[in-house]
């Protein structure tokens, strides 16, 4: 774990272009950003501003065309695919807009899955922790339900519990409340806020200004460039 004063995420002059047919379409144009441990950052901007691209690069799901990105001291650009996978497994938790839960796994098993992959817990310990995490997100009584038996909000809670499974220092969320009604969305954000208060670094993307109010820092992007950073 890095020093408290050192940024846990360093984004340095990131460029990213996508090939659309024969043309390269720039999505990010020299974005630089430092995120400290325990910070609650919201990436905002209009459609096509590059916020999801930036989030994916921060999460190690995508790689920049140019520039550097470091997570907890590890330069992602120089990591092999397997090492990048291990970094995601141990240091980053993901929450997607459409939950991406494993359909054939119960809520408990979905939460268990990252722990199985990381081999950091024994079988009993794993179960216990998964149950605790479900309790934490308020779904202790739904642990043996399949995703199809849960509401959207409940599924997103399971996804959050899964993101916490390996106790990662960073949680990344892409439009976490996009598919949810306002009330459920606020409940989810309150939960995320609670996690942040417990010391977790949160980076999330939203285009809903109401949700951005939960964040301590709002980073505004436009046309692939950093427009401004607001501290709240």
């Amino acid at each position: 774990m890095s020093d408290v004063n050192e940024p846990i995420i360093v984004v340095d002059n990131i460029h990213k272009s996508y090939l659309m047919g024969k043309d390269a379409v720039p999505a990010l144009r020299g974005v630089s950003l430092d995120i400290s441990p325990g910070e609650f950052v919201c990436l905002m901007g209009p459609s096509g501003s590059g916020k999801t691209t930036l989030l994916n690069i921060i999460g190690g799901l995508d790689e920049p065309s140019r520039g550097h990105i470091a997570i907890d001291g590890d330069n992602l650009v120089s990591l092999s695919e397997d090492k990048l996978a291990l970094l995601r497994l141990n240091k980053i938790g993901f929450v997607f807009q459409n939950y991406n839960l494993l359909a054939n796994f119960t809520a408990l098993e979905n939460v268990e899955a990252p722990m199985v992959l990381s081999r950091s817990y024994g079988r009993r310990e794993r179960r216990k922790r998964a149950q605790e995490l479900l309790d934490k997100v308020g779904l202790g009584d739904r642990s043996h339900h399949y995703p199809s038996e849960l509401s959207g909000g409940q599924q997103q809670r399971v996804a959050i519990a899964r993101a916490l499974a390996n106790d990662p220092p960073i949680l990344i969320g892409d439009e976490m409340t996009g598919d949810l009604d306002s009330e459920t969305g606020f409940a989810i954000m309150r939960l995320i806020k609670q996690l942040n208060e417990d010391g977790m670094t949160i980076v999330f993307v939203t285009h809903d200004p109401r949700m951005s109010k939960f964040a301590g820092t709002v980073v505004n992007l436009q046309d692939g460039k950093l427009l401004n950073t607001e501290r709240q």
Partner: protein, 929 residues
């Protein structure tokens, strides 16, 4: 428009399209290849038969009661040649058995003397030159090898002139037998094909004119070889050709008269073989249906996946005004184009396989049997058509549901897919409509098929059409396979758990994920399981039967022969009364057979005499077959195979000397309700001839004797046997008004004997055959030689089974491949998510491999269990009826082969299907899905 849309779809889904085309192509190719092979062999059958029994159509010779055993060549040839215009050639021959001596050895061989311009058959000169005109001899390869004779050596030939048999008498007219003896140089050692039957291994060829001179048979021959127009055989129908040759034979007979024998061996065998080809074709057609069924399931799955993926596009087409029929046509056209490519290439591949693989292979097999023949590959329209029709029918049936689903696409799929499955306005009409329940209709049909098969088999077997009989029988087998498949499908679940449990010891983390995916994906598991299970049942069933048969070879042979050596007499005559002329006397055992020191304790057994038997007062009666024995069978019969339910083996000794004693079967004892020590009455030949016997043994099983068992039904139908002494036997078969025959009469039809310890039984078999085979008209069988033959046959069966399994699983492998591909494709989001949370490539691949293995291996194991269970049940039922002890055995070739194929298909299928998707970044996969 439709076609361009379809072709664009193919480009979008290359792998799926290739899979469908390939599976159709391979299955069509295999069926066309097999059908074409049968057709090729059927058409080449005349040539094959000619090679094995002689390349001529009618052989004319004198009857053995004709005063002159020789044919007058010029006059008779003229008559034969003009008897029918379809006769093309007539050649004289002298064909006879002669005694051959060389290098101090002597044997019987077949002399074939033929005219130089006779070009019947192929003669392959191995060494020397075929110069026969000056008394040169062309010796058959086997004969030369047996004698150690080489070109240039001289051999002695003794020819015995045939003596005509007196009419009504079994013996020849005249007292002495005239013989001609000569010494001749060997000018060539040859291998023949079609000159004379292939089974004639010992033989020599000489010049016809020279042999005529040597034997003083001017203008005389023993045989006239007749050829007919080859076009007769080219019509393709064996039965018609055989009947036409018979017609020519009748024409010859009308011209020559009754003094001649007419041998139509080729036509005869051709006639018999025609039914076998029908049966073979029926087998292939049935197998073809099974293979296409699996392919149909595969195509149905892939097309259904395509439809589901295109749902939004189709909804857009509907919004744009497309009619439902148009969407239906798109799907059907897609399948039709796939069918055209798959079936077209399949037919082509089938033809090539037939021409370049099957035909050369068959030729090489025939060459191993000494038959040199060039087979012309035949693939007629009638061979290809059934496969093509079957393929398109299966395609149509497979595509109909996806096409109907496509045509029912709701516009809401384009607007709001989430609610599209809810009831829409357009569903209302359908809900109001009263429709027939097709599900009940189909179930009705299914039930009727079972009844139809049962009734059909009865009808067809009474009509006696072998092709229909075979088709229905094989359909019943197919029905059984389907039934077993569905019944044993229930086993796949526990077997999946077992497989995963075992794999979890090797890869626990990957199994954690695979276990959940496999055990909770009911729909795709069922499909893949059915594909594999159906393909595994039949090979496992046949393999189990074969394994049981292999394991029981020794028991079967021992039970069949009864003793280490069995000698059976075959006679020249089939008329009752005359057949005994060739039977052996009891003294044969003590004199001639005794000369063979390796043979011990020989027991002579009489022919079976049918007699009526009853209890002491005649309340219960039955019939049976009486056998007299010359000595104690207990000394030589395999003791561990004997089961006495009353008395013991000492009865076999007692029976030899006790003329009032009888040993009967357990079944007969039950039918007559008599026990050990009870009295039975037997009716002998003539009037008022009845004799009482005391039961001294009741036998449940006696090796070498099929008439001793516990089946009451066999006894009731007269199939039971009983043993009595020779004196009693003579007494029973003789009318009381006549004198008893001498003890040493020709009465034995069978001899059972033991062998001295350490004897080479196979060599003894040969020695006895050489000594007595022709002179005494006996066939010798020894346990060791029989075992060797049986094992060779079993090995061939195993090869055949492996080929069948390979063919059967080729289509299944495509099925496995396709289902795994579709499964992985439809799970992109899951794979993306797994990658996103940190699963590495190899872990994902391993996970998918484990899933595939668990799904397919469990189904293969269930199929094996189903097939094996059925195999054991059939074998058990068969054995229990025939009183045979049975050793249960597990097949060690086909079943492991099935498992290996399934595991390989799973691994390759999973790796191939996953390789592209897992290469993408997590975010790319998530974006795709």
């Amino acid at each position: 428009m439709v076609l361009s849309y379809v072709l664009r779809n193919f480009r979008r889904r290359k792998v799926r399209t290739i899979l469908m085309v390939m599976s159709l192509m391979v299955s069509t190719a295999l069926i066309v290849m097999m059908s074409a092979t049968v057709e090729t062999i059927r058409r080449s059958n005349v040539d094959l038969l000619s090679s094995s029994i002689g390349r001529y159509d009618i052989a004319v010779s004198k009857t053995d009661i004709s005063p002159d055993p020789f044919i007058e060549v010029e006059r008779t040839s003229q008559i034969v040649a003009t008897a029918d215009e379809r006769i093309t050639d007539v050649y004289p021959r002298i064909v006879s058995t002669v005694d051959l001596r060389a290098n101090g050895e002597e044997t019987e061989a077949t002399l074939v003397a033929r005219v130089p311009d006779e070009e019947i058959g192929l003669i392959d000169v191995i060494s020397g030159t075929l110069d026969l005109e000056n008394g040169g001899v062309a010796l058959f390869e086997d004969t030369a090898a047996n004698f150690g004779v080489e070109v240039g050596d001289v051999i002695n030939v003794a020819y015995s002139f045939p003596q005509p048999r007196a009419v009504g008498e079994p013996t020849a007219v005249g007292a002495s037998e005239r013989q001609a003896v000569g010494s001749f140089p060997v000018t060539a050692i040859v291998r023949q094909s079609g000159v004379i039957a292939t089974f004639v291994r010992d033989g020599l060829m000489m010049d016809f004119a020279y042999v005529q001179d040597w034997l003083g048979l001017d203008n005389r021959a023993t045989t006239l070889i007749t050829l007919v127009e080859p076009a007769i055989y080219e019509a393709g129908n064996s039965e018609d050709a055989a009947l036409e040759v018979r017609e020519i034979g009748i024409a010859v007979q009308q011209n020559l008269g009754e003094d001649y024998n007419y041998s139509l061996d080729k036509a005869n065998i051709l006639d018999q073989s025609s039914a076998a080809f029908l049966v073979l074709q029926a087998l292939i057609n049935t197998y073809g249906l099974m293979a296409f069924g699996v392919v149909g399931l595969l195509i149905h799955t892939l097309v259904m996946t395509n439809v589901q993926e295109q749902r939004r596009e189709m909804a857009i087409l509907r919004i744009l005004g497309s009619l439902r029929n148009y969407l239906f046509t798109i799907v059907m056209s897609e399948v039709a184009v796939i069918g055209l490519f798959g079936v077209g290439f399949g037919v082509l591949l089938g033809r090539l396989l037939n021409q370049y693989a099957m035909v050369p292979w068959i030729e090489s097999l025939l060459a191993q049997d000494g038959i040199t023949v060039t087979i012309q590959p035949q693939v007629s329209f009638s061979v290809v058509l059934p496969a093509v029709i079957a393929a398109f029918v299966v395609l149509f049936v497979s595509a109909i549901k996806p096409a109907r689903d496509a045509s029912r696409t709701k516009v809401m799929y384009a607007i709001n897919p989430g609610v599209a499955d809810n009831i829409q306005l357009e569903d209302l009409a359908e809900l109001r409509e009263q429709r027939p329940n097709t599900r009940f209709f189909i179930w009705g049909l299914v039930l009727l098929v079972a009844v139809g098969l049962a009734l059909g088999l009865d009808v067809v077997s009474s009509l006696g059409n072998p092709a229909w009989e075979a088709t229905l029988f094989l359909s019943a087998i197919l029905w059984m396979v389907l039934g077993l498949g569905f019944v044993f499908l229930i086993l796949t679940r526990p077997l999946e758990r077992l497989v995963l449990f075992i794999i979890s010891f090797i890869a626990p983390r990957m199994t954690y994920f695979a276990e959940r995916n496999v055990s909770r994906s009911n729909k795709r598991n069922t499909l893949i399981s059915l594909l594999v299970l159906f393909s595994g049942v039949l090979p496992s069933f046949l393999a189990t039967q074969n394994a049981i048969s292999v394991a029981n070879i020794e028991t079967d042979v021992v039970l069949s022969l009864g003793a280490p050596v069995e000698i059976n007499v075959f006679t020249r005559f089939s008329e009752p009364g005359l057949e005994s002329l060739d039977w052996l006397k009891p003294s044969f055992i003590d004199t001639e057979l005794a000369a063979f020191e390796d043979v011990e304790d020989a027991v002579g057994i009489t022919s079976g005499y049918r007699a009526d038997i009853s209890d002491a007062v005649g309340m219960r009666t039955n019939s049976l077959e009486l056998l007299g024995v010359t000595a104690d069978l207990g000394e030589i019969l395999f003791e561990d195979m004997m089961i006495f339910s009353g008395g013991d083996a000492s009865a076999l000794e007692q029976i030899v000397t006790d003329d009032d004693a009888i040993i009967i079967s357990e079944g007969l004892a039950e039918v007559l309700a008599v026990s050990l020590g009870g009295t039975l009455k037997l009716k002998g030949a003539g009037l008022d001839h009845e004799k009482e016997f005391v039961v001294i043994g009741i036998v449940r099983r006696l090796p070498g004797f099929g008439g001793f068992g516990r089946a009451r039904s066999t006894a009731q139908s007269g199939g039971s046997q009983a043993l009595i002494s020779m004196n009693a036997y003579y007494d029973m078969i003789t009318d009381p008004k006549e004198a008893l025959p001498e003890y040493d009469s020709q009465i034995l039809t069978r001899i059972l004997a033991g062998v001295r310890v350490g004897t080479d039984a196979v060599q003894l078999d040969q020695d006895l055959s050489n000594e007595f085979g022709f002179s005494r008209r006996i066939r010798v069988d020894t346990v060791d030689a029989e075992l060797e033959d049986a094992r060779n046959q079993q090995r061939q069966s195993q090869v055949f089974l492996l080929v069948l399994t390979l063919i059967s699983f080729t289509t299944a492998v495509f099925g496995v491949f396709a289902v795994i591909y579709v499964t992985i494709y439809s799970r992109r989001a899951e794979i993306g998510m797994m990658k996103a949370v940190g699963t590495r490539r190899w872990e994902l691949t391993g996970m998918l491999i484990i899933e595939s293995i668990a799904m397919t291996l469990s189904a293969a194991l269930a199929g094996i269990v189903a097939g094996a269970t059925m195999g054991y049940l059939f074998a058990y039922l068969e054995n229990i009826g025939s009183e045979r002890p049975m050793i249960f055995a597990v097949d060690s070739t086909v079943m492991p082969f099935v498992i290996i194929m399934v595991v390989l298909a799973s691994i390759i299928g999973a790796v191939f299907s996953a390789r592209r998707i897992i290469r993408y970044k997590a975010i790319e996969i998530l974006r795709m899905s």
